[in-house]
Amino acid sequence: MSLTVLVADDSKLSRRSVIRALPPELEITIIEATNGKEAIETLSGNAVQLVLLDLTMPEIDGVGVLEYLSEQPSSPDVIVISADFQPEKQRIVMSLGAKRFLRKPLDKDELAMTLFELGYL
Amino acid sequence: MNNPLLDKLPVGICLVNEAYEIVYLNAFFLDRMSVELRGDALGKPLADVFPEQIKFLKRRIKSVFVLKHPSFSYWEQRPHIFPFKSSRPITGEETQMVQNMEIVPHKDTETGEHYACILIQDVTAQASYFKAQAQLAEELKAEHEAQRKLIRKLDRAQSQLIQAEKMASTGQLAAGIAHEINNPMGFVTANLNTLEQYAQNLLETCQATKKLVASHAPEHIEALEDLFDATHVELIEEDMSPLIQESKDGLKRVSEIVSTLRSFAEEPQHTWGYLNLHDTANQLVQLIGTQFKRPRFKVTCEPDQLKWYCESASLKQALTNLMMNAAQSIDDNGLVMLDIKQTSSGGVAIKIVDTGCGISEANLKRVFEPFFTTRPEGKGQGLGLSVAYSAIEKHKGKLAINSREGKGTVIEVRLPVLKEQEKEKSASNPSTKSL
């Protein structure tokens, strides 16, 4: 079963490190978005099962993307990956329907564990 | 953690677990703790063993546990965290150890437990050095400030000295005036001599006329005598000679004063040459004697008529100032002695002794300071001795002063033979070497 994953981050470095951290045994198609607006456009036109979402982005930020998704009838799983992980921020993100909140720099094992918990592995 | 090398480090190491209990102390720590505490410190709460500054320590240790990042404390803000004695020698002033502290996170790789490792550095020496440096800098600053003040004072003194120099040129002006006085003095003296002769002739003519009338026309003698009486010829005869003599004496005195004034002041400034010290001393006493009537003056010079190679204007100025001070110090009758003597080494010793009021011990220290004066405001510039001092210095000489209040003052000036003098002596007048 092929999995389509959207990696939304304005930083190329972060997108690289997220993609590199994905378990190699997973068969996945990766779509990249460099800001929230691009992410929303991608989501409306493609069948995406999983979103790996950054919070601080230009145009529309991660919270904006989550708000958009919460208004949709059905939405993919969202794992937020952010450098700003103060409790306040985590609370907002989780209340908008994100499944997990992971810290930057992304830990490979932590991502694998999360994917396992969410049933992708 | 029980590596014996850790006990050799000049750094204190204390390991604390997450319950703030001490789990390790190296020798640096143990050696500085009291015997009672040392035995069972391990395993005890940090607060029990080191109650001083525990609040601060706990705060810092917490930050290390939470942030997983070292924490620093610098002696300048917190010099004595642990109650340790300084390791400085007994002579050191600092008794408490000045410390820098670093707390670093430590994770035991086997058990996975977290620790905070307190590292203590003894920086007593550096701190006291630093403080000494800071104090030194402060002192230097103060000294610098004092010097700047002094320089300002000296600047002022210099301009005052320039002023004094100007006054010396006023002396030259006086010499010019003296010269001008000399001219009329010349013809007044000559005329007076002539007038004396004329008057003598006239009186003789009167006597001769009286004799002629008595022998050839005795009938008119009475009328002539009446005429002589009416014009006081007899009185004129009596009075004229002493009057003229008195005038001549007066003129002589004027001419003496004028010539002294000239010879003393006419010397151009800053010229080196031979000065007859004996003559100079006599002239000086004469000049000062006209201003100060009370003291008796006495001049001695050995050898007689001693000539000295010097910058005569400034040396004369120096001697004048010293003599004036001596004369001024005498209230009633007293003695001012000016004694000049060539020493065995060829130099000259000039002694000025007075039996005047003397100088108090406190003032004696300050007499060479420019503008220091004990005379009332407006009466003295306070420059006399400092001018004398710098003049003597110019001659590479020494000026010493001794005084006892109420008894008098002795000033001794010693002038060395200057090279030029030796050169000139040997070239022009080798015989004077035996002097």
């Binding site: 930083s11 | 942030l67 997983k68």
Partner: protein, 194 residues
């Protein structure tokens, strides 16, 4: 700008992200310690000459300055500029008792710079897998002469602003790297981007 200092768009972006992550860690650590929310600005990355650096840091009249050097795989200095305003409240959050003595204030300044600058450096080093050690921070007053005496011609300035929300306190952290360290940093970033 010479060649060693010029950053490609990708490199600049990557560095910005790395800083962002490091700052996030720093802010989170401090927020955790003093139990308050901390705002972080998006890091600004510029390359400046020493004179430019002086201009950059010296504008702040009412400010405290600290500097802290680091060594290891990369060398450089971190400068922290702290506003005087709001510092009292932060000191209180750090458990200092009022009224603050001059030593308390100095200690607070040094501690804050150490936590924030230190966390930034730690985050950066960790992500780039570079070993660095931070030295003790010291207080200093920036003077133009200090800057012209630096033996590097250019420095990379990574500037970020922290806002501690219950007070109006802000702090800027400026990283200065020498040319050799910058070259090392760039090659490490290139590996990550590759």
């Amino acid at each position: 700008m010479n060649d060693t200092i010029a950053l490609s768009e990708d490199q600049r972006d990557a560095l910005q992200e790395l800083m962002n992550i490091s700052m996030g860690q720093a802010a989170n650590s401090l927020a955790h310690l003093i139990e308050t929310k901390i705002g972080i600005s998006i890091p600004k990355i510029t390359a400046v000459t020493p004179d430019g650096l002086f201009e950059l840091v010296s504008h702040h009249q009412q400010a405290y300055y600290t500097r802290q050097s680091f060594m290891g795989d990369i060398h450089g200095e971190v400068m922290s500029i702290l506003t005087q305003h709001g510092l009292t409240e932060v000191a209180e959050l750090l458990d200092y008792e009022q009224p603050l003595s001059e030593n308390d204030i100095n200690e607070t300044i040094l501690e804050l710079s150490n936590i924030l600058a230190g966390a930034c450096l730690a985050g950066l080093s960790e992500q780039l897998e570079l070993a660095t050690n931070l030295q003790m921070p010291t207080l200093f007053a920036p003077q133009k002469s200090d800057f012209s005496q630096y033996d590097w011609q250019h420095s990379l300035v990574m500037e970020v602003k922290f806002d501690i929300q219950i007070s109006s306190f802000t702090m800027r952290v400026v990283f200065c790297l020498d040319d050799a360290s910058l070259t090392r940093l760039k090659s490490t970033i290139d590996e990550l981007l590759g």
